[in-house]
Amino acid sequence: MRFDDILRLCAQNMFRRKSRTILTVLGVIVGCCSIVLMISLGAGVSEQNRAMLKQMGDLNIITVYRPGSDYGTASSTSTSSSGTGADGEVKLDDDAIAAIKNIPGVVGATGQMTIDYPLTVSTDNGRYYTTYVMIDAIDMAESATMGLELTQGESPKRADEVLVGQYFAYQFMDKYRPDGYNMRNQPYDAGDGQVTQCDNTGNCETVPADEAQKPFFDPLKSTITVTLGSTDGSSSGLAGSTGSGASGGSTGSTGSGDGASGSGASSANTFKFKPTGILKEDYNKGQATSTGMLLDITQVRAMLAKLDKSTALKSTSYTQAMVKVSDISQVPDVEQQIRDMGFGTMSYEQMRKDLEQQSRFIQLMLGGIGAVSLLVAAIGITNTMVMSVTERTREIGIMKALGCYVRDIRMMFLGEAGAIGFLGGMIGCVLSGVISLGLNLIVLGGFSWEHVRQAIMGGDDVTRLSVIPPWLFVFAILFSMAIGLISGFGPSNKAVRIPALDAIKNEQ
């Protein structure tokens, strides 16, 4: 028998018992839908997990620590205290950084330093000052690789140029204003272009970003004076900066000129810098991106050398380092190699693994629930096929008597069962696609073409409840069809065992 004839007979038989076929297909639709939707909800959970991890930090940056120091102590250990590095087996110095850079998959690495001397930072002839500034240092050449972003300005190029944090200028107090009124309120990003500001009485309000309170000065147009070692005697530091005669608040060109002259000032613990860019706040890259200053390692070394030659020369090792890996899949491998070198490491890899495992578990569980309903549908198909075979006993006998091959009869019934599964799978996929779209639209907050696009394609900051990867549709259709074929296997075997004689025996 030709294949198209078998298909035609299948279609005829299915059409003959329309309502029964429709009900059976409906069972498969429900089963297919529940599997697809359940898995898509699981996929949604894992997508949300990924988005969360992404927000937490760059997944392909590994933080490296000196051996023996753990995360908590590392940040508080001084760069200059090289003595603690000496008793470790391996030094996290420039040689180690170079070695790490040679690991395949590493696209960049930099050591990190922090100045933890007491310090005073001032500008505008000392009118604005603060003692709460964290000064970090990295290899500026790697700043772009490490994902540091600027909101304004550009990367420093000269020896006296630096970057400052997004809210750096809000840390300053005005010495001419009374206590309680001598600081500007730092805004916090509230999303959608809004910021939240809280005053010193604790009242907060949310306003558009451009209406936020401006700091006292624009760092890009100022020269910053850093005075190391002045713990509480801020007057001495201020005196130093006044003495240098820096005219802060003036234009950029004069400011940089002042800075150049300032660096050569007599006071050994006073340094002048010209900010060229404002960093985007990112806590994963350190406090400096928010309220601190970010310098190049050579600048910090020069400062320390000026301050105390004897210790500075020895301080070649870093407290920690950042390593950027080209692809997230290489993170575990690179991390292991760095560990093998004797360093401690930290990345989000372990957390990512845990979350992934968790979401896979959720997917499996939800998929299992869906599978139960497809199992019920499978029983429905078997039932339909058994009835169909029983009803058509006589017909099968006639066909056999007239010389129909057994394999054609089997094909006919398997084709019918498979078609029920296939139809159910197809319609089920379409339906679950629509339901998934609806769920996502609800989460995204109503209908709009932009939301429809986001619901289907996803996006960097789109939260989707239900995520259907394309393979899931293909899988669901094939799976439904397979379920149909398996369910039809028993009944079709029953059909082929019907003897031709039955056709003649079953007299009316």
């Binding site: 028998m1 030709r2 066909m399 007239l402 010389g403 054609d408 056709a503 003649i504 007299e507």
Partner: protein, 237 residues
Amino acid sequence: MGESEHGPSRPIIEVRNLRKEYPVGDEVVVALERVNLRIPKGQICCIFGESGSGKSTLLNQLAGMEKPTRGGVMIGGVPISRLEEHELAEFRQKHLGFVFQSYNLLPNLTAVENVAMPLMFRGVPKEQREAAARAMLRRVGLERRMKHFPYQMSGGQQQRVGIARAFVAKPQVVFADEPTGNLDSKTKTDVMEMMCSFARRLDQTIVLVSHDGNMASYADRIVTLLDGRIIDDTMND
């Protein structure tokens, strides 16, 4: 044509020492016993007998629908009682036709599709086989019933479709089990004459089972069965 039974040509159907038993409860019922029969090509042979005489069992044996307990059946030299299921199906497609008492048309197929069915099993393309089927239906006088379904036709019409189906593939042997059993006497005559004329034209063999003496008169030869044995074998004039 009766002479050919004793002629030099090999008989188309040859039954040798056939025995068929059925278990009924604890007992064994012997339906056929030591049946020997040779039917030459082109003969219209009627197997005649009362109900329970074993005539239907013999037809089933001849058509290869059941395996014999002992002995064997050869059709055209092929031992059909020893064929595998697949070989048997192929043999039926090529060499056998069937006419049933209750017509046995497939209810969801039209007259044309029913007639074309044996050709469909052989893998003949749709246009070709339906053209052949339409030609057959014209020959049985149903040119106006081509697209009708079985339930839209009378018993006589249905049986004519059945005859068209049996002959469409030009089989060597056509088995007819009480083909007129459900018909009125006028239609009976039409149906029998039609079958016989078809068979004569292509020198096809018909094995007819009947308990109706009038129908037996159309045959060349009447084989009478009683209690599973051949008790009489006579040639018609």
